[in-house]
């Protein structure tokens, strides 16, 4: 007995000694953070993350190969703690969710008959899959078999559907998908994604400057999921009430139904769900990433600034908006008249954005109340300039400073601010853009009985939206086409009495493709008016640049816009970013919103110390050639829902909103007209019934055949 004890002691002792010596000799420095990180992982060694055990996962996190949110068992709290240890932006510690972008499934045609192993990996090896679509889902469900949490199942249309409640974001499905169509992303990553060449994008989605997932939200409206539709729009556009009213919807020009039929009324559907939320009496919660300690100053509270602030806030940064005007909204408030976008609607929308935790300092003008240097001193890590284009172009004719002469934006903003504006009984507006139309329609509502619109080309060349021109015609505006103002004539008191213009005729096309107006000699005509408003375009007011010696390096283009990199929107000063009218010149609200998000991505990269860059595959409103069709077979022609409008007699003399929202019934009908397009696929209407039956039979036959193959 004694012997045995001694021998075992001796063996144990030798082993212990050898190991302790070995641990000294073979000591390898190991990052102490690995042990710390491992402490916050679940310790279950489940392997769900794809690494062999928790210590391997911890090592991968410390090595930067895995995100802090790797552990799917421990959840969000552990992810935040791990991110803290790693000194990472906790923004990246958000939960990951799997998303399948492809709605294609069996909708695309087959290139060849496939009878091999029922696995996407095998099918992808044969010419990238049997479907004609090069990027879409192969539909054999590798992701479904790979998912360890039963979170993916095959939908009735033959493509995998992710159950978000079950998905833990482990990323296995993304790894097995040979087409990269199923992706696992955090909310921030989704917010920061811009259209790329090989994304599953419908033509409308490629066209939208804000890159809203249009087919998805229309699909959600069709299913009655209005809240889901609002969320889908908000992933790309925080100003849906505004855009739903004023957007000239370039997306509808590319609507695939529009090739053979009237396009889907996309914007009215957006307005329908946006109004649905506002009228429901509650605000849908908007999730934000965990707080970071980075501060961003957004200069300018217009569409671009609001969009940039909104996305930065959702990414977890602390944002302060500075605006020169007494209230936020920029050109959307002071440039777009009340009858198109009521202030109460805009207030509600902006309040929702500020409620995310954004501070707003109004009546603060750059160059007057603060400078870039003072912002830097206050501790702002990056600055966004969304100062818009508020400086009207001048006519450069004699008498344009007489009493009774106005400039477009100044006039509109005075009216919008509720100030008394003195106008005569007759007025002329010079210009053919949306601002000019806004001016004439506002004048009508101010009680001016004779309103002229003077434009030097013809109606066809007018850059204003067609619906706006029509509305102006209904409201009794008198259009004087092919007329160029020569001078404004005043009386002895310096008050306007006449506008003198010269008649024009159209000559050769100019650089913009429009025919250049040529004056007709001796055709000068006098028009009796008491008010003249020039609305011939605006440019940014960049006078603050010259006054500020710190901004000597900030480049300004010859159109007075702030120069930036078109992909990243970074200016020549690394911490300053710009978008919206300040960068593009006067443009659409939706352009500014898209720009604001793009700038938010670059600012996010800049704040995290990453290189500021976009994707080399970035589309930036270019179209994917294969997605544009000449003909769309399988469409049954159907009527587009007309825009409900206030009758003309009720419109005049009041600023009441003219365009009304469509009814729920119309919204459901209109959403049913959407073909649910993707890059190549769309739902065919004529053969739908027969095809559905045949498709199901075919697929079960296929499955039987494949099973036989597999067992043979």
């Amino acid at each position: 007995m004694l012997e045995a004890t001694l021998v075992m002691l001796a063996i144990g002792g030798v082993c212990g000694l050898v190991l302790s010596i070995a641990s000294k000799i073979f000591y390898v420095y190991e990052d102490p953070r690995i042990a710390e990180v491992e402490g916050f992982l679940a310790g279950a060694n489940c392997g769900g993350c794809g690494y062999a055990g928790c210590s391997a996962a911890a090592a991968a996190v410390v090595a930067g190969k895995a995100p802090p949110s790797i552990c799917m068992v421990a959840g969000l709290e552990s992810a935040i703690k791990v991110a803290e240890i790693m000194g990472l932006d906790p923004g990246s510690a958000e939960p990951m969710k799997s998303v399948n972008e492809c709605l294609g499934g069996v909708r695309a045609d087959d290139k060849y008959f496939y009878n091999g192993a029922p696995a996407c990996a095998a099918l992808a090896a044969l010419w990238g899959g049997r479907r004609v679509c090069t990027i879409g889902c192969l539909g054999l469900g590798d992701c479904i078999r790979a998912c360890r949490f039963d979170a993916i199942e095959m939908g009735p249309e033959g493509y995998p559907v992710v159950d978000e409640a079950r998905c833990v974001g482990c990323g296995v499905c993304e790894k097995v998908c040979p087409k990269n169509i199923i992706t696992v992303r955090t909310m921030s990553q989704r917010l920061l994604h811009f259209n790329e060449e090989d994304d599953a994008l419908a033509p409308c989605r490629q066209t939208c400057p804000a890159e809203i997932d249009i087919p998805k939200y229309i699909g959600q409206i069709r299913e009655g999921d209005y809240e889901g539709a609002v969320h889908t729009i908000r992933e790309r556009n925080p100003l849906l009430l505004t855009c739903g009213r004023v957007c000239p919807h370039p997306c509808e020009d590319y609507c695939r139904r529009g090739i053979v039929d009237e396009p889907v009324s996309i914007n009215q559907l957006k307005r329908f769900v946006a109004d649905y939320e506002m009228n429901s009496g509650k605000r849908l919660p908007i999730p934000c990433a965990p707080e970071t300690d980075k501060k961003v100053a957004v200069v300018g509270g217009g569409p671009a600034g609001l969009s940039c602030a909104y996305f930065l806030r959702r990414l977890g940064h602390r944002v302060t908006i500075f605006d020169a005007m007494p209230e936020l909204g920029g050109i959307a408030r002071y440039g777009i008249p009340e009858y198109r976008l009521p202030a109460r609607v805009l207030d509600w929308e902006i309040q929702g954005i500020l409620d995310l935790g954004i501070e707003a300092r109004c009546n603060n003008k750059l160059g007057r109340d603060f400078t870039i240097a003072s912002l830097r001193r206050e501790g702002f890590d990056a600055i966004f300039l969304g100062i818009g284009a508020w400086s009207d172009y001048r006519l450069r004719v004699e008498g344009e400073d007489l009493d009774g002469c106005w400039q477009g934006i100044k006039f509109l903003s005075k009216v919008a601010a509720g100030e008394k504006v003195k106008v005569g009984p007759r007025a002329a507006v010079i210009g053919g853009g949306n601002s000019a139309i806004d001016c004439v329609r506002t004048l009508v509502r101010l009680g001016v009985r004779e309103v002229y619109l003077v434009y030097r080309r013809t109606r066809k060349e007018m850059p204003a939206n067609e619906v706006e021109i029509e509305a102006a015609e209904h409201e009794g505006i008198k259009f004087i086409f092919l007329a160029a103002p020569v001078r404004v004539i005043g009386d002895e008191n310096g008050r306007v009495t006449h506008l003198e213009y010269q008649k024009m005729e159209l000559g050769e096309p100019d650089a913009s493709g429009r025919r250049r107006p040529v004056p007709i000699e001796g055709s000068e005509t006098l028009l009796e008016v008491e008010t003249v408003i020039t609305a011939i375009g605006q440019r940014p007011d960049v006078s603050f640049v010259e006054k500020d010696p710190d901004l000597a390096k900030l480049k300004v283009t010859r159109w007075n816009t702030i120069d930036n990199d078109p992909e990243t929107l970074q200016t020549s000063i690394a911490y300053i970013f710009t978008a919206g009218d300040a960068a593009t010149g006067a443009s659409l609200v939706v352009d500014a919103i898209g720009g604001g998000r793009r700038a938010a991505r670059s600012i996010h990269q800049y704040l995290n110390g990453e290189p500021v860059k976009g994707s080399p595959k970035s589309l930036r409103k270019r179209h994917i050639p294969e997605s544009l069709f000449d003909d769309v077979p399988g469409v049954v022609r159907s009527k587009r829902t007309p825009m409900p409008e206030l009758p003309v007699e009720q419109r005049l003399d009041s600023m009441v909103e003219v365009d009304l929202v469509i009814s729920e019934k119309d919204a459901l009908y209109e959403s049913g007209r959407c073909l649910s397009c993707c890059r190549l696929c769309y739902n065919r209407e004529t053969e739908q019934q027969e095809n559905q039956g045949a498709g199901q039979d075919g697929s079960s036959e296929d499955a039987g055949r494949e099973l036989e193959e597999a067992t043979a």
Binding site: E3, A4, V7, M8, I11, G12, C15, G16, V18, L19, A22, S23, I25, F26, Y27, V28, A52, G53, A56, A117, P118, A119, A121, A122, R145, E706, L707, A710, T711
Partner: protein, 191 residues
Amino acid sequence: MTDLIVLAISCILINNILLAQYLGNCPFLGTSKKMETAVGMAMAVVFVLVLAGVITWIVDTFILKRWDLEYLRTIAFILVIASLVQFVEMFLKKSIPALYAGLGIFLPLITTNCAVMGVCLINIKEEYNFIQALVASFAYAAGFGLALILFAGVRERILLARVPRPLQDTSIGLITAGILSLVFFAFKGMV
């Protein structure tokens, strides 16, 4: 020499540690889902088994047998093998980081592996001499690796097949292992 070759063949094929003696079934099922993992595990087993076989033979012959303490064999072997694996892990980490990166995560798994323990005990039971123990340890390990890699190959193919739902994953794995085991029975009587 011929004896040693015969011994090696019988250890690899006829008395295959996994498919004929049914030892070490947990790594057999656990690490055979992917070929990459299976190869890593096979290498680690070869490495550890050869060392463990030799060391335990020395411990048994020069310590336990000398003081007639054969009844302490199991506990002594566990102690020795566990320390050995720890030692090897430390050694590799410092000296051959590349090999550690390949085998590292599998080494701790083998600490408590019944195949390793089993081979060490078989070496003693069959009263092999040192050379025979060395060859047998290596051959058993090679047999382990052979079976594991074969099995991993089969399982990768199974992934592409349509398996009825109740039989998926481990279930079909065990059935496959059974068939594989039957196949190895064909080697019985070869030597």
